[in-house]
């Protein structure tokens, strides 16, 4: 599971991102691309000092400005499990 495919799999899910400018952004991810550019929906943007909050309906974040993205805890395990199931299915089909 490459980092960018994990990000891809997080589409529609709530994310928390920290920018290099120390601002944090919480919202639901609509889409992402290979540059890590993101579009988000229902966004709350927290200033670097954590004292100001801005609410936005939609937002575009340029990938180069991102420090890290926090994805839901269970997503990674869920994908790993799904892949294991698929692999098992494929193996069974190949065996038939």
């Amino acid at each position: 599971m490459l980092p960018l495919s994990l990000l891809n799999a997080a589409q529609g899910l709530p994310l928390m991102l920290e920018l290099k400018s120390r601002e944090t952004i919480n919202g639901y991810m609509l889409a992402c691309d290979t540059f890590m550019n993101l579009t988000l929906r229902d966004v709350v943007c927290t200033s670097a000092d954590g004292k100001e909050f801005k609410k936005m309906d939609e937002m575009f974040v340029r990938g180069t400005g991102i420090r890290y993205v926090r994805v839901p805890e269970n997503l990674l395990d869920q994908i790993v499990d799904e892949r294991a199931v698929k692999r098992e299915e494929r193996r069974r089909k190949a065996g038939q």
């Binding site: 980092p3 420090r67 926090r70 839901p72």
Partner: protein, 149 residues
């Protein structure tokens, strides 16, 4: 280090991002370029050095104190990474013993103190830089530049 010794390829073939291959699923420590330190399990990486880290904990160490906060699953953009190292599980107990001697404080408070210390570093650097420039010298970026800004 490399287990892949089939006699066909020289050892230590992987030198760039691929050298992280043997650290996958291991407990690692990360230093980011902003000076923050993370601990977690490395799950994946790509050629940009982007990482996926699970069960991440962020720790701030100050003099005689420390603070930590859970960060869950993180996708870290590679360019922010300064250092990544494997944690020796045998020595982890020692680390925990050291923690017992430190006072655990609130993360937000530690974060503020850390930011202040950072600000101080920045001021000191700019002051030295000013002296150097006045003396007609080149700036000494390598020796003094606190990498975080």
């Amino acid at each position: 280090m490399n287990d892949i010794d089939d006699g066909l390829m020289p050892l230590q073939v992987f030198t760039t991002a691929a050298s992280l291959l043997e650290l996958v699923d291991k407990k690692v420590t990360l230093s980011l370029r902003n000076g923050r330190t993370l601990f977690g399990v490395l799950r994946s990486f790509d050629s940009y050095g982007n990482l996926v880290v699970q069960e991440t904990v962020e720790r701030i160490y100050l003099e005689g104190k420390y603070a930590e906060a859970d960060r869950g699953v993180l996708i870290i953009r590679g360019e922010n990474l300064a250092l990544l190292g494997e944690i020796d599980l045998a020595k982890e107990e020692e680390l925990e013993a050291k923690h017992a001697g430190l006072e655990k404080i609130d993360f937000d408070q530690a974060s503020d103190e850390f930011a202040k210390r950072d600000e101080k570093l920045k001021e000191d650097f700019l002051e030295k830089e000013q002296i150097r420039l006045q003396a007609g010298l080149f700036s000494n970026l390598v020796a003094d530049h606190p990498y975080r800004f």
